[in-house]
Symmetry: C2
């Protein structure tokens, strides 16, 4: 019983070996991450359409809960760009931004997402994330990055704009282009340009100046903090608010409040599908980061336990004024690079953010929204990478179609349509390929017991024997295909065929529909006086066939190897003296 | 150009060889089928919720169009039970039974279904029907048969009842049970009992009396006609209409009218999904019948041309007062048994039904609805067959789950939900299975060049070499699985492993996600100083891999056969003196 609890609460394992060295490393990492997270949390809350404090609240209790239930030692949980965008899209459908209903819907979305993640973890459904292929994820991240960057341009330009698709956003921006606030544009463009330079040019410069590489990386990550401090100071000092520069304004000085998500069936029903998508996308993003970091230290991540950790974190967000969270790439990498050893680093980060929420929020009053938009734009544009199009085009057309559809549909119809269509299209293309399997007629490679395609290799054949190797499991989608193929092959026969062998080395399963097809083929060949044999049937397939009557009625034999079948049916002598 | 037209209009092929013997056979078959079709058409129209003449109209022009465009020589196209039920369910959602809107919606459904079938034929999408597995079809037919029989009980009992699910129908029947009309019940139960006896007992009796078997079968098929004639005469003679026995009543004496389906976007939108389902289900039913009959005469059916034939038939139904049609089992088998040689038999049947529509409709005025209900019940209960549950349970649990879900969901939520869920569940179960493929560690079967599972066969192995045979194509759904499996295997190693071989005989495709996984595995093994090799890579997979950089970076070789890999990597001598 106690062992079972420990399986679900990893803190009970690593907590027992915690020591002073780990404590000191974790404390330093937490300090660095806390400083980085303050502007990031405010920015993502703005992206999600929520008041700035929601981003900080969403980073406190969720981090603590993940530290208790999660398996990754370096993952930092909180608001991330893509999930914030998806939250804005989902909540925007059911409530008006800035209303109490909007915040309540965001809490409810986090609660639902948490419940879905927990349920997936308990029922060990982590494998469902595999249905998102790598190219679909890459395409989705790229398209989301473009959408997010576009959605933030309004803050840089100081104009109103709205929309959840690229077309809507662009039309909305263009229609307000006459209202651009030049002062805001100067602040925003300045901050954005500075941040791009920090990302591209600062690290090489520091390294040339003799700063150690590790410290240079952390300094680079602190770029947003510098931009925040500088533009806040300028806005305050020059009174830019009077020139129409939008600022964060008053943020309540408070620990995360206790909040209760809505249980209204209408709201839950409207948010359910978005919550599923947010859960799956968030899980995939988080697990990718966690596995990347774990591989560096040869640690293992348990995907099903990760679901429980993320589920608990989201439930926590729902009850403490937050919104959906997941493991983020940037914050986790900083945490890792800064030397975090255990999830305790996350707990210390949470404490740091709690102090900030109580003590530091008055300092961000004059922080321009344009600066936050700049930090978002620079962060997400680094995720945009169209090389996946070139790579998949060269290797696999069906992957190329899936990724192209994902990118276009995400841009034109929003994140939910894009990612759903990408998943469904990849499944449909996979099924389509398996519906028309590759069939090779094979012959014996001379001087060996190996059999290969007669059209690709110089092989021996025998006119009385047709051996077909079907390169696919036989199941309902392709069950009729084999029947049609064999009928066409026999129609080209001039009466010499005495035996047909189905070489089953690539047949990994035979379902009930395919069994019926094999029975029909056996029946038809029997009427024609042709033997029907199987060779190289795999163990699990053979076990299954033995439960049916097929083998009793088979008008032929089952051979262990294709070479056995070839020798027996053509009457050739064994090639080896040893036998 | 002319050759192309002939491809789409098979009548141009068989029409050129038509002679007097075929004409006489076709005429006799047409007469028998016409007599059988009159009550059947009336009954199915009632099942679809349409006036009786709609069933006859739906049997005339569609048959003619199928005779021109279809490829089956024996298929008889017209109203069938399952499609009539689906029509009632779909049209009942958008219009009130008995109104002009109801009939218009039925025409529109036929037109839409025809357009969908034609489009599928032109784009050669006949393979989509393969997504309905045999067990799902069997379960759907069984559940539909029960639903249909239940829906007809109200006519036998002489009470009102409604609903498209078993629960709705039963509740509705029970709530009206106090209003049963005893006279109707006597007529209905008598007709139904007689028809059951005809189906079970008449043929053996006739054969014992010396009637040839073929004639006995046709006499059995004429049972419904006898029931119709007898109950009509009784109802007229005894004036049963005055006792509350519902009768067919006045049917217009007319050739099929020219009608125009609606193009209203609302109606078309509401009927589109049902039309897709009706098209696919109708196509599957029709092609099954056509292939069964064609196989008996060693003829071939072209599925894509069948789509065009059925599409034309449904378009015809839409413009001549009908409703969705397809190739029916009962009518086609009678047509075949009666000796039909060419589609001309269908044309003669159409002529016979046209005469009936003009001249015979007054004769059915006193035909009780209860008799028609009896003919439907007896026909559909013969389709109910639960043995598929037992068969799939024994052979394949996932097929069993799919068929069970199809039956239960069809009964509880109606035909559209049932069949859609069946298809989706079979696909999901298939994908689930491929997400956790069977992996065998293999060794060399002594005295051969054949490699088998070390856990199932007595084989030679070498501690420095691990050979894994993955029994599944590698694609996004299982891409991570192989990586996890290999990491677990290496974790159990005691430092002896020098080489890992991936035996690819069962890997029929490697998609982009899986390629990335192989690259990751190659990278990790290289760091551990372990070679990574492939063997028995199929031609199409090899072609694909050559376009990627993977083979350049591979820390090992690609071997033609596993035996080559085994000899090279373990340094064993060749077993054959010939080499």
């Amino acid at each position: 019983m106690f062992g079972k609890i420990r399986d679900y609460v990893p803190v009970l394992v690593w907590g027992r070996h915690y020591n002073r060295a780990a404590l000191s490393n974790d404390l330093i990492a937490a300090l660095i991450v806390t400083i980085m997270l303050i502007p990031q949390s405010l920015a993502y809350a703005m992206l999600a359409g929520l008041p700035p404090e929601a981003g900080i609240y969403a980073s406190i209790v969720p981090i603590l809960l993940y530290a208790v239930f999660g398996t990754s030692r370096a993952l930092a949980v909180g608001p991330v760009a893509v999930v914030s965008l998806m939250t804005a899209a989902a909540v925007g459908e059911v409530a008006q931004q800035g209303t109490a209903g909007y915040a309540l819907a965001a809490l409810t979305l986090a609660g639902l997402s948490g419940a879905i993640l927990l349920a997936m973890g308990v029922f060990r459904l982590g494998f469902l994330a595999n249905f998102l292929s790598h190219p679909v994820i890459a395409g989705f991240i790229t398209a989301s990055g473009i959408l997010i960057a576009a959605s933030q341009l309004k803050h840089i330009l100081g104009i109103p704009a709205s929309g959840h698709t690229l077309t809507q956003i662009v039309v909305s921006l263009v229609s307000h282009l006459g209202e651009v606030n030049v002062v805001t544009l100067l602040v925003g463009a300045g901050a954005t340009g500075f941040l791009f330079w920090v990302r591209r040019g600062l690290k090489p410069l520091l390294v040339r100046l003799g700063v150690p590489a590790g410290a240079a990386v952390i300094a680079t990550r602190a770029g947003p903090v510098a931009a925040v401090v500088a533009t806040t100071a300028i806005t305050w000092g020059l009174g830019l608010e009077d020139y129409g520069v939008a600022v964060v304004g008053a943020v309540p000085q408070s620990l995360p409040p206790f909040t209760v998500p809505s249980l209204s069936p209408d709201l839950v029903g409207a948010l359910f599908v978005p919550a599923v998508l947010i859960s799956v996308i968030g899980f995939v993003e988080s697990i990718s980061v966690a596995q990347t970091l774990a591989a560096k230290k040869r640690q293992r991540i348990d995907p099903d336990q990760e679901l429980i950790g993320l589920g608990a974190a989201n439930i926590g967000a729902a009850f403490t004024g937050g919104y959906p969270v997941t493991g983020g790439f940037a914050r986790s990498v900083v945490n890792y690079d800064a030397g975090a050893e255990t999830p305790a680093a996350g707990a210390f980060t949470a404490a740091g953010l709690a102090i900030a929420a109580v003590a530091l929020t008055p300092l961000v009053y004059f922080l321009p929204n344009a600066t936050l938009a700049g930090t978002i734009i620079v962060a997400v544009l680094s995720l945009v990478d169209f090389s996946i199009l070139r790579k998949t085009w060269a290797y696999s057309p069906s992957d190329f179609y899936a990724v192209t559809a994902t990118i276009l549909l995400t841009l034109l119809f929003g994140v939910e349509v894009g990612v759903s269509a990408g998943v469904m299209l990849s499944i449909a293309l996979h099924l389509y390929k398996t519906s028309r399997p590759h069939v090779a007629e094979v012959g014996c490679v001379p001087q060996t017991e190996h059999f290969r395609n007669i059209n690709r290799h110089r092989v021996e054949t025998d006119p009385s024997l047709v051996t077909l190797r079907v390169d696919e499991s036989l199941y309902f989608v392709n069950a009729r295909f084999l029947d049609d193929y064999l009928q066409d092959r026999l129609a080209r026969d001039d009466g010499k065929i005495r035996n047909v062998v189905l070489m089953c080395s690539a047949i990994n399963a035979i379902d009930y529909s395919a069994l019926e097809t094999l029975e029909a083929i056996n029946h038809r060949l029997k009427e024609l006086g042709i033997g029907f044999h199987l060779s190289e049937v795999k163990g699990p397939v053979m076990d299954r066939l033995k439960t049916a009557h097929f083998l009793d009625e088979l008008n032929g034999k089952v051979f262990l190897s294709q070479y056995d079948a070839w020798r027996t049916l053509t009457g050739r002598p064994a090639r080896s003296a040893a036998e």
